[in-house]
Symmetry: C2
Subunit: 619 residues, 2 copies
């Protein structure tokens, strides 16, 4: 059977089973609504969920969730932990549980970030019971004006589906619908923008869904539906149209005589088409490049991989190779400012084909509802004979040599290639918005390593919670070390999350780039604001914490083994990175890396200059 | 001239001046929009504003805001700092500046809290420039779908006024309108609820307003309007109707023959009628009681003050005195669950008169647009001859004796009266949601002391940011020590804010009640969840931090003097509180108070029992 036929057969089986439930009239097993939801999560292999206890979710938390429940520390990071978890655990989802008002609103920035970056997060909110929902008394955690729907209305801006569990008749169906929306990434609304280089996947696939869980929803319902697993399947493309598009692309590739490059971007990861892309690359031999958000979508050790394309900020040899190809296949692109060198892709539509989750664009022609997931395998099949011509195009070697510098100071120029040698296969590497996001770009990562970043949403502090979630998920999927690069300013925002990391026995290596403030902002807004800051202190400076005593302070009565290091110069960092015990990551380790406040990766310097101009401040 | 005439004259002057600006046609001084806004804030004596830098607000921050700008650490607490600042500085406002998306959404919980608790907070959001607002490119901090209005739509649920500064023609007017809304507490919408004992001030006065500040708004405008100060005046009552209501109330008081008690609540503080209430009390001699949210609305050392009335949770002697009075004057009430002993006020409408900001209710009769601010002085005048009969009613002495306990363990029963002896006039006392909010209730506070709590919104962690804001404001208004009581669980949520406290040389005393978790939640949801928690740990437990090393870790390179203490028993606490150097509060001090995980103030135990029942969990 072909893949399509298999999928269709599975769908038929599923529908038959679903129909069957309507005929069940006796011997139904009962289950509480809370446990129904938890069973669905277990079926998706959700092994942790996150959030804070609150009196409107205690009933739910007291159910068997205890097994998977992880308390977070600041309220605001629960959504970011769920986000990090979901990014690592493809096919599963991140789950966050909060309480009415105070909890759910605290999570809003992280929820909006998951929405923006298309990460599947399920937000479960414990709300007052169904009677109170109707009588709306002046309870704590309310706005004092009887509006019980205000939080949901606000959340609707950042979620594609909301379900209110108000009765036993519809609860199971609503839960299934919310989770299915979350895992199948069903398009919700279309919205086109028109400025700059804002081409992007307009389907705005799934982000976050919110079944609200009133405290009284421990009532029981039938468990019958649980026998039918929820489906991850997404709609097939219309076959004749899909065939026509494949033919059209084949013609373009043939006309280019194999002078074709591929650019992979964020949506390759988000829409789970890594395998389909790998197959295309394997059969064609086309050179492949990644955007910043697409980094590690393709294995960076792949011999036809040439590194990062980021418009005008691209290294010259790569830039020339990409922009001069006769045809560019752009897969899963997300054209945000920081992902495109401030909208500076220099690739005319006449030489570009775009593959998205819900449409395909061949030069100027748009084909709606022709999604890449189902089409890419057919295209690979069709292009199989392009292997030799596809190989003709040379690819610059993606390597990063350690520069010679005759100063002991740890510069960004030296630091990033140096840590590049430290990475291993199956590392999860997380970079914070700011210097780290840019510094990592031209460091080749080993086979099987995964990079997480949040380049579109760009909420500083995100990486810390995300590291906690990613570290929990990494254990489930066989990834090994988890390595975070975060600036001192960003870490201060969500530093508490290190405490549950310690408590749960997680062992990330946390590199704290101590440059005494927000270097990225110093770069964006005018050099004259960079140095000596006005007393009492400039707005881009932060307090100089004693990072070496942090782990000891946050440790749970000193129960867990941790280690802290401060490295002042290259020699100290070399020594630490070469230390096998350190590299083995057997306990949670924090490394404070002393850097100059005015140093930054070159790509960032140039990006910041462009952003500063865009913001149009007077100098 | 009477007060009314004076106010009218001032209004006439103001209108004349405003008219004059329409005739100015030459020699207009120019000012940037950012500086216009800052000048308005300076006119309101705003000496600090709060938030984090972000690339869409850097242009604004780089303007002379630097003088008043305070960077916060976690993004989520900026709004809570502004809230604390506004609570102390009556007549002024709290100001928060954030950046597009990531910043403003992070502040949403605190903004909603200020809305709920009716605290005037102005939220200034730096957004992409006016050209980008129209072309909507795929910038970082956007949702990736071109919706630039989503954040504003979400915020509209929690703010009474939003202004988008999009051009130079309307910017000044929009700024003035937003700030005026904020300071005059103009009713926005009416919404009636009907469940439980949900009587409350339905005018939902001002909370937060949001002028959005695009990065390009450094353009210049006329400074002419700045000559007219913004008016705090609220509408007068219709004179004949007001007179009729005063007469009616006079009749009721006369019928009660002076057997009258007064209950003051939150809105006495929020609507600035403390002076008017004091005058009423002075001329009548009526006994007065406060609700939890009304505590310190009336000086607690006042000889006719009898303590806290909280429905069925009230101490028996107070309960009897309040509920048996022939007439109860309820001023500025806010009938939320935790403020009323779970809606257990036992006062029939036939014996109650309610005074609110925008209406008055005499038994069952409602008089719209008769607000207490203007009516109370007239009522006091009318009731002047009630002084002797008003004095007849005895008031139980509001004292709290230290109980004899033959254990060294610091119990809540002992702790709260003990710290009562430590308080001084002009202390600002801040209590966190949870045990502290309840423990403080029956401790009499000295003359001129102010208590801050957040009983309606109840967002744990609020008190920490609020302490930072309150401490800055306290310096401006001549208040002295700032004393925070916070549980270890709550402090972990927003602990970073201690860092800017240290950096700014603020000297609060922070009592950390270390009970190893969320005791309030343990009480709300069933005793069996209180002790030995399931491994790896129960959801109401928190990590046991090394509190004694916290200040050292967060200190800015050890530049500032701080002190940390851990007190394990009564003797150690006594010794510390009696230490004059400690009591002088000359540096920032943190006191970890070791308490039993299952101990709580009695009022909390009983409230939690009621809330647990309301939530209707299966036991």
């Amino acid at each position: 059977m072909s893949t399509d036929t298999q999928a269709l057969q599975a769908e038929v089986d599923r529908l038959r089973l679903e129909l069957k439930t309507f005929h069940v009239d006796a011997g139904v097993e009962k289950i509480s609504i809370g446990n129904y939801l938890l069973t669905r999560l277990a079926q998706l292999d959700v092994t942790s969920m996150f959030g804070l206890p609150g009196d409107f979710n205690l009933g739910f938390l007291a159910s068997p969730t205890q097994r998977i429940w992880s308390k977070t520390t600041p309220r605001s990071t629960g959504s970011e932990i769920a986000d990090g978890y979901a990014r690592i655990k493809e096919g599963s989802i991140g789950v966050l549980t909060t309480t009415f008002g105070v909890g759910e609103l605290s999570a809003m920035n992280g929820i909006a970030g998951a929405f923006s970056e298309m990460v599947p997060v399920l937000h479960i909110v414990g709300v007052p019971n169904t009677v109170q929902q109707k009588t709306r008394p002046l309870l704590h955690h309310t706005l004092g004006d009887g509006r019980y729907d205000a939080y949901g209305k606000a959340a609707s801006q950042f979620t594609i589906c909301q379900q209110y569990l108000m009765d036993t008749q519809t609860a199971a169906e609503k839960i299934d619908h919310a989770i299915t929306e979350c895992i199948t990434k069903v398009p919700n609304f279309l919205y086109h923008t028109c400025g700059g280089f804002a081409h992007f996947d307009p389907s705005r696939p799934v982000r976050s869904t919110s079944p609200f869980l009133p405290t009284s929803s421990i009532e029981e319902i039938s468990s019958e539906r649980l026998k039918i697993p929820l489906s991850h399947d997404i709609p097939f493309n219309q076959p004749e149209m899909e065939q026509a598009v494949v033919d059209l692309i084949y013609g373009r590739v043939k006309a280019a005589n194999g002078d074709v490059v591929v650019i992979v971007d964020a949506c390759v990861i988000r829409h789970s088409v890594r395998k389909e892309v790998d197959e295309l690359l394997k059969v064609t031999g086309f050179p492949v490049y990644a955007t910043p958000m697409g980094k590690t979508a393709v294995d960076e050790s792949y011999f036809r991989y040439g590194g990062i394309y980021i418009g005008s900020l691209t290294p010259p040899d790569v830039k020339e190779k990409v922009e001069n190809a006769k045809l560019i296949l752009s897969i899963g692109s997300l054209g945000s400012d920081f992902n495109t060198g401030n909208f500076s892709w220099n690739i005319p539509k006449t030489r570009q084909i775009e593959f998205h989750s819900t449409y395909t664009e061949v030069n100027f022609a748009r084909f709606d509802n022709i999604g890449m997931k189902h089409m890419l395998p057919k295209l690979s099949e069709r292009l199989r004979d392009f292997y030799p011509p596809g190989h003709r195009l040379p690819v610059p070697a993606f390597i990063k040599q350690l520069p010679e510098e005759n100063t002991p100071v740890i510069s960004h120029l030296w630091f990033w290639p140096r840590v590049g040698y430290f990475f291993r296969p199956k590392d999860v590497i997380i970079t914070e918005t700011g210097t780290a996001n840019f510094g990592i770009l031209d460091v080749p990562l080993p086979s099987g390593a995964i990079l997480l970043n949040q380049i579109l949403w760009g909420s500083i502090g995100w990486s810390v919670g995300s590291t906690l979630g990613a570290a929990l998920a990494a254990k489930d999927v066989g990834m090994e070390r988890v390595i975070l690069f975060v600036g001192d300013g960003s870490l201060q925002l969500s530093v508490q999350e290190i405490s549950p990391m310690i408590r749960k026995g997680l062992k990330p290596i946390i590199f704290v780039l101590n440059n005494k403030g927000y270097s990225i902002e110093r770069y964006i807004h005018g050099k004259y604001r960079r140095v000596p800051f006005v007393p009492p202190f400039g707005y881009n400076d932060v307090a100089n914490w004693k990072w070496s005593s942090l782990l000891d302070t946050l440790n749970d009565g000193g129960k867990h083994s941790t280690a802290s290091y401060t490295v002042d110069n290259k020699e100290e960092l070399n020594e630490l990175l070469d230390n096998e015990a350190f590299a083995a990551a057997d306990n949670l380790q924090l490394v404070e890396v002393m850097m100059d406040a005015l140093d930054a990766p070159q790509t960032l310097e140039r990006q910041a200059e462009l952003t500063g101009k865009g913001n149009a401040y007077a100098a």
